[in-house]
């Protein structure tokens, strides 16, 4: 069969789907053109009008370029019917056509099966850091005020001459030093769980000793 290069609607051959004697509309009705040489498929959806007649509207002049890619040749036409109520979709072979397209092109080469260009992953560049010298200078600069503080405290007459060497005193100050050691360990990489576990025990001891020590100091002050 030959197609005419004009607007053709298959109303001349419109079709209807029948279930027994009754005409039905189904969910999926497609008309498929398959190029017998390149096996390329072109699908058209068939619409049903109110009288339950299906048509596909095929404006061949625009469809030739758009849908068929201007590739002429022999096409087989199938009707594909599918629906929720059908146990299996049906593919009905309707016709075989020879399409003559005026500016027929060769089918485009299929690039999808060839290797794509290679991508090299660009790892994230590390952020810019200040030069080591500046960081070292500022580290020293930050520790300097501590020295100044010690000097000022000495000038003010701060002293520990009032310290009593009792059990609670040793427990309290030792506990504080232990807490500092735990924190230094934490900074050096011990994880939080271990830190908190160690801390729990030491904290209880430090708290009890500290409470005893400070209460005794307060009582001594009151008695004075």
């Amino acid at each position: 069969k030959q197609w005419y290069q004009r607007r053709v609607a298959i109303t001349a051959g419109d079709f209807s789907l029948a279930d027994g004697a009754e005409e039905v509309t189904l969910h999926q009705v497609f008309v498929r053109f398959t190029n017998t040489k390149t096996k390329q498929n072109v699908f058209f959806i068939a619409q049903a009008d109110l009288k339950k007649k299906y048509t596909i509207d095929l404006n061949f002049r625009s469809a030739a370029a758009k849908s068929f890619g201007s590739v002429g040749g022999q096409y087989s036409v199938d009707l594909i019917v599918g629906d929720a109520t059908l146990p299996q979709a049906m593919v009905i072979d309707v016709a075989t056509l020879n399409l003559e397209i005026p500016d027929s092109k060769e089918p485009a080469a299929d690039l999808s099966k060839q290797a794509k260009p290679e991508i090299t992953h660009l790892f994230r560049q590390p952020e810019k850091r200040p030069p080591q010298a500046i960081s070292a200078v500022f580290t020293g600069l930050v520790l300097l005020p501590a020295l100044v503080l010690l000097i000022m405290w000495a000038k003010l007459g701060a002293n520990i001459s009032n310290i009593q060497i009792s059990l609670s005193s040793i427990g309290f100050h030792g506990g504080l030093l232990a807490i500092i050691a735990i924190y230094v360990n934490f900074f050096l990489g011990v994880n939080m769980f271990t830190t908190v576990k160690c801390l729990a025990g030491v904290a209880v001891v430090t708290f009890l000793c500290g409470q005893r020590l400070l209460s005794s100091i307060a009582a001594a002050k009151k008695a004075k």
Partner: protein, 121 residues
């Protein structure tokens, strides 16, 4: 000094500052001066950290934040300790002895340093 009338009128600026300095030196108890020295140290450390951040940018922002906030929080805790141990304030803090204030100070510092070390990364 024998009272304001003998020194009136004050030369602005110089006289006020020198008067403030003299009063501070003579009337502040030694313990409060010790705390004040500590507060000054904390503040200078915070300023130096801030200057460093302004110079080289905030790249490990969490580190800068944790260090800076450590100084700010230490300053606040120091101020609290000073307020609560000031003998002039005993009327306000009836039930809080100086020792209790010091214990609170130590405890808050333990929690603060744990959090700071965790955040410093």
């Amino acid at each position: 000094s024998s009272g304001i009338n003998a020194e009136w009128p004050l030369r602005p600026g110089v006289d006020v500052v020198s008067r403030l300095y003299n009063e501070y030196n003579t009337k502040t108890p030694q313990k409060l001066k010790i705390i004040d020295a500590y507060l000054g140290y904390i503040m200078i450390t915070g300023v130096i950290q801030f200057v460093y951040c302004c110079l080289v940018g905030t790249f490990p922002f969490n580190s800068f934040l944790s260090g800076f906030i450590s100084t700010v929080a230490s300053f606040v805790l120091g101020v609290c300790l000073r307020i609560q141990s000031n003998p002039q304030n005993t009327a306000v803090f009836k039930d809080i002895t100086v020792e209790r204030a010091f214990a609170d100070f130590i405890f808050a510092h333990c929690v603060l340093h744990l959090v700071v070390l965790n955040f410093i990364g």
